[in-house]
């Protein structure tokens, strides 16, 4: 009931957030790319053309310095990385996240919440065990914290920095970085546990194919059949397996820079990490919407572990039959 009443406020807030997010990357477009060539040419004149060709191709020489990559005079990949990060990932991520929020808002306004067709029977069926819920909320809370701190590292300088005193800004960002770096490996463990725990439920069957063909019941009135997990939930599982593990693995490479990773390696993994996590976040918005506001009776399943009989019958009829059959034995 609460949800229904606050529905309009909620969507208005999401639209506002969307507008803010979309406006952010505009400033990023304005930058022109650096010119290492010009800088170097001004400060290292009088050299032979051969030398220039070598230096500009990033040829390594000899040096007494032990810093990473010190033997290379000019690391040419840096500018490309800057361009990819500032010109593509920053605005692209904002568009992906904003687009996801916009699509969800639009969907909510047009279709609204998926209601229970039949009134609740009051009979409750266990759907998620204590273990399931522990893993889910462990991963979910870490995901939100890592998401906020990670987005701060990508975007906060555009909106948080102008409103905070420098000292507070420094502490906030230091905290964000440390929280992100220390919770990352704990998130990795959770994701692994989740993947292992729910692996057996997530093989696609013909039932899922029909479920997809009917658009998961979103389009039209008839609700397609589904087992314990429907096609959409399985897709989300495999998104976590592929994109989620990509985020986790790339994050671990970045988190422990003490294994002699080169600058080029770190650049590559930063790009992978940013792209994969932005995709995951955009997808997670959809998951959060469907699990809370979008479907009546879904959230209580992950909150209490139990769902109402009529919810089970409506959304997971094959699973419901299975449970009913088992309880009769």
């Amino acid at each position: 009931m609460m949800v229904k009443q606050s529905g309009h406020n909620h969507s208005a807030w999401m639209i506002l957030l969307l507008v803010v997010l979309m406006a952010l990357p505009v400033t990023a477009f304005a930058q022109e790319s650096a010119d290492a060539r010009r800088e170097a040419f001004q400060s290292m004149p009088g050299t032979q053309p051969d030398f220039w060709r070598d230096a500009m191709q990033g040829v390594s020489g000899r040096t007494q310095s032990n810093s990473p990559g010190a033997d290379t005079l000019i690391m040419i990949e840096g500018e490309r990385w800057r361009e990819i990060r500032n010109q593509w990932i920053s605005p692209g991520g904002a568009i992906a996240l904003g687009g996801s929020l916009a699509a969800i808002t639009l969907f909510y306004l047009l279709v609204g919440q998926v209601k229970l067709v039949h009134p609740r029977t009051g009979k409750r069926i266990e759907r998620w065990t204590r273990w399931d819920r522990a893993i889910h909320w462990y991963v979910a809370s870490l995901f939100i914290i890592l998401g906020i701190t990670g987005l701060s590292i990508l975007y906060a300088k555009w909106f948080l920095m102008p409103i905070l005193p420098t000292s507070v800004w420094g502490s906030v960002m230091n905290a964000a970085k440390n929280i992100h770096n220390y919770l990352g490996p704990l998130f990795a463990l959770g994701v692994l546990a989740m993947i292992v725990k729910w692996f057996k439920h997530n093989f696609f069957t013909m039932v899922d194919l029909k479920w997809f063909a009917k658009g998961g019941g979103i389009v039209g009135k008839a609700h397609p059949s589904a087992g314990y997990l429907n096609g959409g939930e399985k897709v989300w599982y495999w998104v976590i397996v592929t994109v989620g593990l990509t985020v986790v693995v790339s994050g671990l490479v970045l988190d422990f820079p003490n294994f002699g990773q080169t600058r080029e390696t770190m650049q590559l993994f930063l790009i992978i990490h940013a792209v994969a996590s932005l995709i995951l976040m955009a997808a997670a918005f959809g998951h959060i919407y469907i699990g809370t506001l979008g479907t009546e009776g879904a959230f209580e399943g992950m909150k209490t572990g139990y769902v109402d009989e009529s919810w089970a019958k409506q959304h997971h009829d094959l699973w419901y039959e299975e449970v009913k059959h088992k309880s009769k034995q």
Binding site: Q31, A34, D35, A36, R38, E39, A40, Q42, S43, M44, P45, G46, T47, Q48, P49, D50, F51, D54, G61, R62, T63, Q64, S65, N66, S67, P68, G69, A70, D71, T72, L73, I74, M75, I76, G78, W81, R82, R85, N86, S152, I153, L154, A156, K157, T166, S167, W169, G170, M173, N174, A176, K177, D255, F256, P257, N258, F259, R263, M266, L270
Partner: protein, 214 residues
């Protein structure tokens, strides 16, 4: 205001690492932090070996500044790129973007976590009111004392020049004119090349004198 720049004359650099030592001494940087380095390409190959002293170039459009998540970099009136260690979070992005490998990180934390970034300040210190704290955090502020970076001042062959870009460029241009460039129009004729060498010798002294005026 001036536009400060370094210039390294590769024809003169003898890879003595005097600039590196001078920098280390002037700024008392942490163990493992080397703000300036000398890179030698084609080491040991006669006629091809070239050495260049390199540190932060104080770029006009600085990549470090563009990618910094906390925007801790700022340009000064002199065209230098300095940074605030209080807002630096040690993420290393500046190191990944910098073409010249200028940003340095002390390994302070657990699991290889980086400390606050350190780099060449053109001996201009950093954003700190108290000069004592400024020196501890950022190293020397020789510019405030009317001096130039110690690396350039101590360069034994005056290969490394530092100062206003226009002045430094003038000195170098003068050197090139007297030295003669191997690829320039007249020096391709052999007997004129030896004349050019004679000229270059006297020009070297002239260029040296030019640097003494700063």
């Amino acid at each position: 205001m001036a536009r400060m720049k370094f210039l390294c004359d590769s024809e003169r650099c003898i890879e003595c690492n005097g600039c590196v030592t001078a920098c280390k001494n002037a700024n008392e940087t942490e163990w493992g932090i080397q703000r300036r380095r000398v890179v030698t390409l084609d080491d040991g190959e006669i006629g091809k070996e070239v050495s260049i002293s390199v540190a932060c170039m104080h770029c006009s459009d600085a990549p470090c500044m563009a990618v910094c998540p906390t925007d801790c970099f700022y340009p000064t009136e002199d065209g230098l790129i300095l940074h605030n260690k209080d807002t630096c979070i040690g993420c290393g992005y500046c190191l990944y973007a910098c073409p010249f490998g200028a940003p340095q990180f002390p390994k302070q934390g657990a699991f290889g976590a980086r400390g606050k970034m350190d780099k060449c300040t053109f001996c201009a210190g950093g954003p700190e009111e108290d000069p004592v704290i400024e020196e501890q955090k950022y190293g020397a502020n020789r510019l405030r004392e009317g001096k130039l970076p110690l690396c350039a001042e101590m360069c034994s062959t005056k290969a490394l020049l530092a100062g206003d870009a226009a002045d430094v460029a003038d000195i170098f241009r003068e050197r090139v004119v007297y030295r003669g460039h191997r690829n320039s129009a007249w020096s391709s004729v052999e007997h004129e090349a030896s004349d050019a060498e004679q000229l270059a010798k006297s020009a070297a002294d002239l260029a040296y004198d030019a640097t003494q005026s700063v």
